[in-house]
């Protein structure tokens, strides 16, 4: 399993995926850092105190975090989609399967390698971004570590879903299906919050069901909550007006929900193993 995991990471490196993503991400972080450093120099007619600037910085950092979470959410399925399907299509799998390893070892090895890739990228990118913002303007979000973990969880969740699809679908189909599901879950999640805010239990339940079936939106809300300053939550988070705002949330995911995410990943992985075991190659 570890050999397959290492092979997955090596492939990402050899195919210059790490280099390309690394260079672009670094450029984005530098650009964003420069932008943040200009905030204190903005003309502030009519007077604006440190609290106003802090609020702007917090809002912008939420948008930046969303951008990175979106990039991860789109990239993770496209990295995972060819993991098994590509090997089957290219017949590389025919030289691996007769070796003394179970098909589950291949699935779990691929998942582990991809999880390290997605998780590692998220931790490095988000960590570096928070550091750059802190250096530029001295702002640190309330819970940066939890934020990073929730965003990494979002990426790993989508990657896991794509890996399941990879056992049956062509890589491009699998990638597109995963991203569409991500988008649907996101918008249904927002609709569910609107339903809850206005007392429509049916819409609220659909939103809840959606976040259980694919917990990416729920995880994004976890990241969001940990990015929001307390003052922002107090002013916008719980209002009906803010219920349709994808960048404001009043409460974090419950512990039970976080546990469900782990169970969800384990169940989908088990399904992936079963699906690949039954796949004719």
């Amino acid at each position: 399993m570890l050999t397959i995991a290492a092979l997955t990471l090596r492939e990402a490196s050899r195919r210059k995926l790490l280099l390309a993503v690394g260079v672009l991400t670094l450029a984005a972080i530098i650009l964003i850092g420069w932008g943040f450093s200009r905030i204190p120099t903005l003309p502030c007619h009519g007077g604006c105190g440190p609290a106003t600037l802090r609020s702007v910085e917090a809002g912008l950092l939420i948008l930046v975090a969303y951008m990175f979470s979106f990039v991860i959410a789109v990239a993770a399925p496209f990295v995972a989609a060819p993991a098994i399907a590509g090997d089957v299509e290219s017949h590389v799998i025919l030289s691996i399967l007769p070796r003394p390893l179970r098909r589950s070892d291949i699935v779990l090895g691929k998942w582990l390698g991809l999880a390290v890739l997605v998780g590692g990228y998220t931790i490095l990118t988000a960590g570096l971004q928070f550091l750059v913002v802190r250096v530029a303007v001295g702002y640190v979000p309330p819970h940066p570590v939890l934020t990073v973990l929730f965003i990494a969880g979002e990426g790993i969740t989508l990657m896991t879903l794509a890996l399941l699809g990879s056992t049956r679908l062509a890589p491009i189909t699998c990638g597109i299906v995963s991203v569409i599901l991500f988008g649907i879950t996101w918008i249904v999640g927002i609709a569910g919050r609107v339903g809850a805010a206005f007392g429509n239990s049916v819409i609220a339940d659909i939103g809840t069901g959606s976040s259980l079936i694919l917990p990416t939106d729920g995880l994004w809300r976890g990241a969001l909550f940990n990015l929001e300053p307390v003052a922002l939550i107090a002013t916008t988070g719980s209002s009906r007006e803010a219920s349709a705002n994808p960048f404001a949330v009043a409460s974090p995911p419950t512990t039970a929900y976080v546990i469900w995410v782990f169970i969800w990943i384990a169940l989908v992985l088990a399904l992936t193993v079963k699906s690949f075991a039954a796949r004719e190659v």
């Binding site: 050999t3 092979l7 492939e11 691996i96 399967l97 190659v281």
Partner: protein, 331 residues
């Protein structure tokens, strides 16, 4: 269709023989949806022999190999490799396999591909370097060992695949069309490697549609058609299934032809009369008979069918086997 079974393939359920042959299957079958790829394969491959597996396209040859190396699961029947049920994980350490549709990670070098397979095969790390160097040298790609596989020609990739299959000194090697991408020199090299494997006591299961290749290296051959073994035996046994005598003589009249027909099927073409299916022991009697009838004999040739002729004969006359026939002398 004419079916000659020289060693009847058992259709009864059997226990694995105590002596544990290299490969033993009993009514092994594989069905994909509504398509029967293998309809009850029964055969035994002895240890240390080079075993050819012949058949027309779609006969189930590659499916059989995939079943034997554990890539796919049988829908019926049983099979053993090295005494263990097919697919057994521990036994896979003792098996080498070159797939027909070979492809290796094109972003790795040949040396890295071999190192990967050393790890996947569970070989002791201390043996990796020696195994890799030996494989590279054996298949003749040592000078390109550090180049990416993506830059290799198809023939070089096939050589690499053979090197991968031979890592860890396997006891059984499955080669599925091992020379399909090779030039004549490459084919010669592969034949030499196969012969060296025989000298080392390795069993080679050679799935090939190149009859000349099979003819040159195999000890025994199975002919498979529609997912079943229809004949199995040594090359001489297969070729001898319809031995023939060609007679070039003057004075062979209708009465003489009727006399010759007692020995086998008679065909005439010009002044050459061919008696098919004749026992070689009958040749002196035929000569005496012809001389006594006043025939003037210029030439008598006694020979068995070529493997190609036997192959086509077994498959029922040639039409269905034409695809394989046409490529039989590509080497």
């Amino acid at each position: 269709m004419t079916t000659v079974s020289l060693e009847a393939a058992s259709t009864e359920r059997e226990d694995p023989p105590i002596t544990s042959p290299a490969i033993h299957t009993s009514e092994l079958s594989k069905i994909y949806g509504s398509t029967t790829a293998l309809a009850g394969l029964s055969m035994t491959v002895r240890r240390g022999e080079i075993f050819g597996f012949l058949g027309p396209n779609g006969a189930g040859k590659t499916t059989a190999v995939k079943l034997l190396v554990g890539i796919t699961r049988a829908t019926g029947g049983e099979g053993w490799v090295l005494g263990a049920p097919i697919g057994d994980l521990a036994t896979r350490r003792r098996i080498g396999y070159l797939p027909e549709l070979f492809r290796y990670q094109d972003w790795l070098s040949a040396r890295e591909v071999l190192a990967l397979h050393c790890r996947l095969a569970g070989l002791p790390k201390s043996d990796h370097r020696a195994e890799i160097d030996h494989a590279l040298s054996l298949v003749g790609i040592a000078d390109r060992a550090d180049d990416r596989v993506g830059t290799y020609s198809k023939g070089m990739q096939q050589r690499l695949g053979l090197g991968v299959a031979l890592l860890g000194k396997p006891e059984v090697v499955f080669l599925d069309e091992p020379t399909s991408a090779l030039d004549p020199v490459g084919r010669h090299d592969v034949r030499e490697i196969i012969r060296s494997l025989r000298r080392d006591g390795v069993t080679v299961f050679l799935n090939s549609h190149l009859l000349s290749e099979v003819e040159q290296v195999c000890d025994r051959v199975a002919v498979v058609d529609r997912g079943r073994v229809i004949a199995i035996g040594t090359l001489d046994e297969l070729r001898g299934a319809s031995k023939r005598v060609e007679i070039r003589a003057e004075g062979i009249g209708p009465e003489t032809l009727r006399s010759l027909a007692r020995h086998g099927q008679v065909e005439t073409e010009g002044d050459v009369v061919t008696v098919i299916g004749i026992d070689q022991e009958e040749v002196p009697a035929i000569v005496r008979d012809l001389v006594s009838r006043g025939c003037r004999i210029y030439e008598i040739k006694s020979r068995g069918d070529s493997l190609e002729e036997s192959f086509l004969h077994l498959l029922g006359g040639g039409d269905r086997g034409h695809a394989d026939h046409s490529s039989s002398d590509a080497a």
